[in-house]
Amino acid sequence: MNKKKIFLSILAALLVMILAINAQAQNKNLMMATTTSTDNTGLLDYLIPHFEKETGIALKWTATGTGKALKLGQNCDVDVLLVHAPPAEKKYIEKGYGKDRRQVMYNDFVIIGPESDPAGIKGKSISDALNAVKNKQAMFMSRGDDSGTNKKEKLLWENAGISIPDKEKWYVQTGQGMLATINVAQERNGYTMTDRGTYIKYQSQKGGNAPLKVLVEGDKILLNQYSVLTLDPKNCPNAKYDLAIQFSNWMASQNAQNLIKEFRLLGKELFIPNAK
């Protein structure tokens, strides 16, 4: 009957495991949807433990494109958002999904590409650069996922007087996060647009000697503003509005702003705090 004993003890162990699944404490939990850039760079891993220690609120986050993050908020699947697509955010509040929008930090978008620069865009204005890419049919990687970065990129094509090159062979829509897209661009020797934070993270992964270089930067339109958005309790009565406000206030606090400023890779700031 040894067999039976072994079998029963295995069964008992499995039952304990199942029960353990639901045994997690549920008090003061905040669920956030955010963009891949805040997560991939390691900013949240660095910042959030401070928040949890100071407020006693456990913050969990899922990292996705801004488009999906907004959708998760609209469906009340999260409590708070940290996103970077100001025009979409304002519309979101007008439609009654979002309530308060608080700017917390920014960096800028840059166009990166191989050092050989086949389309010769280095130092050009953003519109001229995109036109050069199009005329040379040089490989260009797009996120293609309706993320904040993707929304901005589409706007830049529009401003340059080019319709989105959706079906062009040289225009590759990866449908993946920012770091993944940079890696695709590196493999295919192409250009892409990225936020500077993620680019610095990529540089540090390559030991400071990255094959892709910043070629276009500095245009005012390339500013990349990150904001905390709370959800309108009218649309999502179950979302933890009070805790979301606490998070929003904390992100704008002097302490958090200093922490953001001190977050560096290769000695460079990835995000510049600008809460008011």
Binding site: N2, K3, I6, F7, I10, L14, M17, I18, A20, I21, N22, M31, N40, D45, K60, W61, T62, A63, N75, C76, D77, Q176, G177, L179, A180, I182, N183, Y202, Q205, C236, N238
Partner: protein, 228 residues
């Protein structure tokens, strides 16, 4: 090629150093896949038995349906489960989104047809002579069923192993329903997807080795059961 070697070294380091993000992912994977395997066996075994043991009209069609369900893509299951347990969905009030329980539901849907189909096939494969012999020996209905189940115990074990392998390695459901939340719903497979997305191939390979090790240990213990 460097990152493959680096991956092996890293895997060893991660496990030995007790790296908390790795171990919580391993633990989450074990919990959720064990839970979904048990649930799918609980539901799939009786269903498979009924389908395999009895003859009834529509049996063929039911088998075809079951076999089609074997091909359900995990991303589709993930999407369907998301639609149901999102706060806007019919089961939204239960708060299952971004939880391991949510993932377990999806994986149960994934594993159920595997268990049911394999069980049905092995039951169908039982020698009809066995049933006749049992009847002629004067065995009651309950006895016959019990004997049949005992006869196919290794087939059922095979069903469990196959189902476990499937839920242990799927990534679509875990990603979509679980949200890949660090220390909570990040499983080994979603962690691999993330590390690969970040371009950290060595970390991805290390986690892959961890996953294969888990599968190896599980199969080893099951084959131990078989020998007993």
């Amino acid at each position: 090629m460097d990152f493959i070697v680096a991956g092996f070294i890293k895997a060893f380091e991660l496990l030995v150093s007790g790296d908390s993000s790795t171990w919580t992912a391993v633990w989450a994977t074990l919990k959720v896949s064990t839970c979904s395997m048990l649930l799918s066996i609980g539901a799939g075994l009786p269903c498979g038995f009924l389908i395999g043991y009895f003859d009834f009209t529509g049996k063929k069609q039911l088998r075809t349906l079951l076999d089609t369900m074997l091909a359900l893509p995990t991303v589709f299951i993930g999407l369907a489960v998301y639609a149901f347990i999102s706060h806007q969905g019919p089961l939204g009030g239960l708060g299952l989104l971004f939880t391991l329980t949510g993932i377990a539901i999806g994986q149960t849907i994934l594993a159920f047809p595997i268990v049911a189909a394999i069980t049905a096939s092995t039951i169908e494969g039982i020698d009809t002579d066995l049933k006749l012999t049992l009847v002629s020996l004067g065995a009651g209905k309950r006895n016959i069923i019990a004997t049949c189940l005992w006869e196919v115990r290794f087939g059922i074990l095979a069903a469990a192993v196959t189902a476990y392998g499937r839920v242990l390695t799927e990534v679509g459901i875990s990603m979509m329903v679980g949200g890949n939340i660090k220390y909570h719903t990040r499983t080994v497979t979603t962690a691999i997807a993330l590390e690969t997305n970040k371009g950290l191939f060595a970390n991805g390979i290390a986690l892959g080795i961890v996953l294969i090790s888990i599968a190896f240990i599980v199969n080893l213990s099951l084959s131990f059961l078989r020998k007993q």
